[in-house]
Amino acid sequence: MSAWDRFVETFFNAKVMLKYLPDILSGVVVTVELALLIIVSGLLAGLALALLRSLAIKPLNWLIIFVVDLFRSLPPLVIIVLIYFGGPAADVSPSGFVSTWLSLALVLMAFSEEIFWAGITSVHKGQWEASRSTGLSFGQTLLAVVLPQALRLTIPPLTNRTIAITKGTALGTVVAVSEILGEASSAMSNSYNPSPLMMGAAAYLVLFLPVVVAARWVETRFAWKR
């Protein structure tokens, strides 16, 4: 057997791959579920915080800024481990799935709040004054005039940040979530063969490469005009 054959036999073993394909696919389902939950809840919470911040209530804004700073400075894996291992001591026992979801949603909330807020403040003051003077209320101005302009600006940085944080679903494997990496790792130790890991790696590329390429397009399409 040549070195090449041995390499293929080890890293791309067809028999092992076929056997563990269903496991990897179920991992893909978990990763996608987790990712969608994180994206939807994280972005909504971030937008909600940014809208609250625009009310300009001083003590509330200090609190928002602190929470945002906190989740921007803590490594996501530390938050996951803290919730998963700290929870039981406070008589709540979140599953690995819930811990990962909650942690990454909080991190995405923090980063997206900053971006949404930057978008809102970038809309010129005159826009506020003009729409208020036409008789629109504060809420109407925010929703109908300011947000549509602000959101457009936030799309490129938001896409990049969302991709980076969503990739963090792989961290769930540390707290026993059976997402792609978790499934691939346990299949690898069961089969004494790295082929499942290669499949897992391929699965991540299939999931995320199209998103990254799309993000490149979005970046040029909605770029900040200087």
């Binding site: 890293f11 400075s73 530390v78 990739k167 890991l197 991540y204």
Partner: protein, 221 residues
Amino acid sequence: MIETFLNPEIIAAAWPIVLAGLLNTILLSLIVVPLGLFGGLVLALLASVRHPLVRWPLMAWVDFFRAFPPLVLLVLLFAGLPFAGLELGGFACVAIAFFLNTGAYYGEIFRAGIESVPAGQVEAARSTGLGRLQAMGHVVLPQAVRNVMPDLLSNTLEVVKLTSLGSVVAVPELLYQARQAQSLTYNPTPIVVAAIIYFLLLWPLVRLLSRLENRALAGRH
């Protein structure tokens, strides 16, 4: 609550373990940040060669690492390579994975910086007799770096946070040490302490970034 999450006795017992972790996290950051910056600079300089045979593979390289979770890369090196007869320690795996992953991110930032310097600058520098590399080193790069300073800092923050992945491959950095102390004491206090340390360490950088980002935005009107 304090008894469980910030127990003074446990803090006292775990402190030496956690402190050793902190020192290793700082050491690890001092190694992987320059490594990533260097990788990024190489990528960006290559990208300034406007030949399609250089540009396309480079873009594919960068997109590959933007799509690939760093932890998967790390596990691939740590658990996959031994099957090819190559057994690297956790530390070496972290260094290589970070070089590849964060290099791609730094590369994109440097590239954007270089592209933000007007072509006239290069032309002027070249016409005074500077070579291509001299023009890049003395004229373009200093301006490029200044233009993308907030992004460079922001990425550096992410890299330092990412060193916590080292805990997965038994590198005794802050999170790993805290988890060791936690399993010794059956108490989450060490992890809380580690979280507080991360926060105190990185909060100034987050504040600075927030200011820089706001200023950049205010300048857009």
